[in-house]
Symmetry: C2
C-alpha cells in the first residue's frame, strides 16, 4: 500500500483547527508538537509540505494559519469523526466515553459517499455524543456558545455541552462522577482552600477540582 491516505496530514489539520478554535494566539510548531506529542522538528518539516499543498500559511512571525482549503479539509475529518461517534453510541451501544479512540481510526476512512450515507442513516444528527456540533456535508458547523464551568456563577443551573479535553483519564473521571453531555449542574460552592468545586447534579453532590471544572463546558440551562 504505502499510501495510507492522508492519515498524518489529517491529524495535523485537526490539531491546527482545534488550536485555532481554542483561540491560541500564536500557533507555533512547538504548540502543534505538544498537541500531537511530536518533535517540533517533525512538525516544521510537515508544515512546509503542507504549505506547498496550500493547506497552511506560514506567516513571517512564525505562526501557522490554516488556509480556507486547510480548514475545509479539517472540518471534513471532524465531520467523519463525530458521525462515527454517533454511530458507535447510537447503533452499537458503546458509551459516549469509549468511542473517541475508535472514531480516531474510523475518521480516516476515505470516502465521502460513505460518510454522507452514514449521516443520512443516523438521521443527520447535529451533535455528537460529547455534545460537539457535527459539520454538515458543506462544512457548515454550529457555533458553540458553551463556557467553562469556572466562569460560571453559583446559583443558576447549567447544562453540560461538551468538554475541553479528550484524554482517556479525563473521560474516565467524568464517568466516575457521572457527568455527561446534557447533565444539569448547579455550583454549590467553591472551596476557598483548594479552589475545588462543589456541584449539585440532580440529588447527587459531587466535588471536582478546578482543573476539571475548567474543562467542563456548559450553557445556561433554560430552566
Amino acid at each position: 500500500m504505502v499510501h495510507f491516505a492522508n492519515y498524518s496530514e489529517e491529524n495535523y489539520l485537526k490539531a491546527l483547527y482545534k488550536l485555532e478554535l481554542r483561540q491560541v494566539k500564536k500557533i507555533t510548531n512547538s504548540a502543534v508538537a505538544k498537541a500531537l506529542d511530536l518533535n517540533p522538528a517533525t512538525v516544521l518539516e510537515m508544515m512546509r509540505k503542507m504549505e506547498q499543498k496550500k493547506l497552511v500559511e506560514l506567516l513571517p512571525d512564525k505562526s501557522i494559519k490554516l488556509t480556507e482549503k486547510g480548514s475545509k479539509k479539517a472540518l471534513r475529518t471532524i465531520r467523519r469523526h463525530r458521525l462515527w461517534e454517533v454511530f458507535l453510541v447510537k447503533k452499537l451501544g458503546f458509551t459516549w466515553n469509549e468511542v473517541h479512540d475508535l472514531a480516531e481510526q474510523l475518521e480516516h476512512i476515505d470516502s465521502d459517499e460513505l460518510v454522507n450515507r452514514l449521516d443520512e442513516y443516523l438521521g443527520f444528527p447535529p451533535f455528537d455524543p460529547h455534545g460537539d456540533p457535527i459539520p454538515d456535508k458543506l462544512g457548515k458547523i454550529k457555533k458553540q456558545v458553551a463556557v467553562p464551568l469556572t466562569s460560571c456563577q453559583q446559583g443558576p443551573t447549567y447544562q453540560v455541552q461538551h468538554f475541553a479535553e479528550t484524554s482517556d483519564a479525563f473521560l474516565q473521571y467524568l464517568g466516575q462522577v457521572q457527568i455527561a453531555p446534557g447533565s444539569k449542574i448547579k455550583i454549590v460552592g467553591i472551596n476557598a482552600y483548594d479552589q475545588s468545586y462543589s456541584l449539585q447534579l440532580g440529588r447527587r453532590s459531587v466535588q471536582v477540582s478546578e482543573k476539571a471544572a475548567a474543562n467542563i463546558l456548559v450553557q445556561p440551562a433554560d430552566h
Copy 2:
C-alpha cells in the same frame, strides 16, 4: 502516529490465506507478489519479518505456509472485511459490488470489541453480500462447496454462491449482465468457436466468456 496498525501485514496474511484456499500448490514469493502487485524482493523481505513473528513458515523448498497463528490472524481480517460489507449493503444501502474497496479500508480498524458488536448488530450474518461465509468470533468458517460454472453441466439449475475474482472490472461486468450471489443460472450451451457460455437467468439470456464463467462459483440449486 507512524504505526498504522498492521495494515500491510494484514494484507499479506489475507493474500496468503486466499492462495491457500485456492489450493495453489506452491506459494512462492513471486506468487504473493503477483497477488498483491508488489515486487518479489519486497515480499521476500516481509516474509522474513513475518517468519520471525511466527505468522508464516518458510519451507526448505521455498514455499510459504501460514502458521496456525497466521491463519487465525488472516481469518480475523477476513471476518472484519465481510462484516463491514454486510453493514455497507444492509444498513447504508450500497450495492454488493460497490463495497469491496471500502471494506478493504474498514477491515483494518483495530478493535475486536467493535467488530463483535457490529456482528451482533447485524444479527450474526453467516454470509457476506458476495455469498462468502463470515468467520465467527473464534475464527470458525463454513466450508464453501461451490464450484466454478465451467465445471458444471448443461441442464440443471445452479445458484451463484460467490466469485473467485474481486477486481472492480469483474464486479462491474457482473453488474452489467446482472449476475449476483443468489442468481439462478442454467447453462444453455457452450459456443464451440470461442468457448463462451450461453446462460439462462430467469427469462434473461446472457453470454459470458469462459474466463468469466471460471470465476463464477455455484452450487446445485435445490429445485
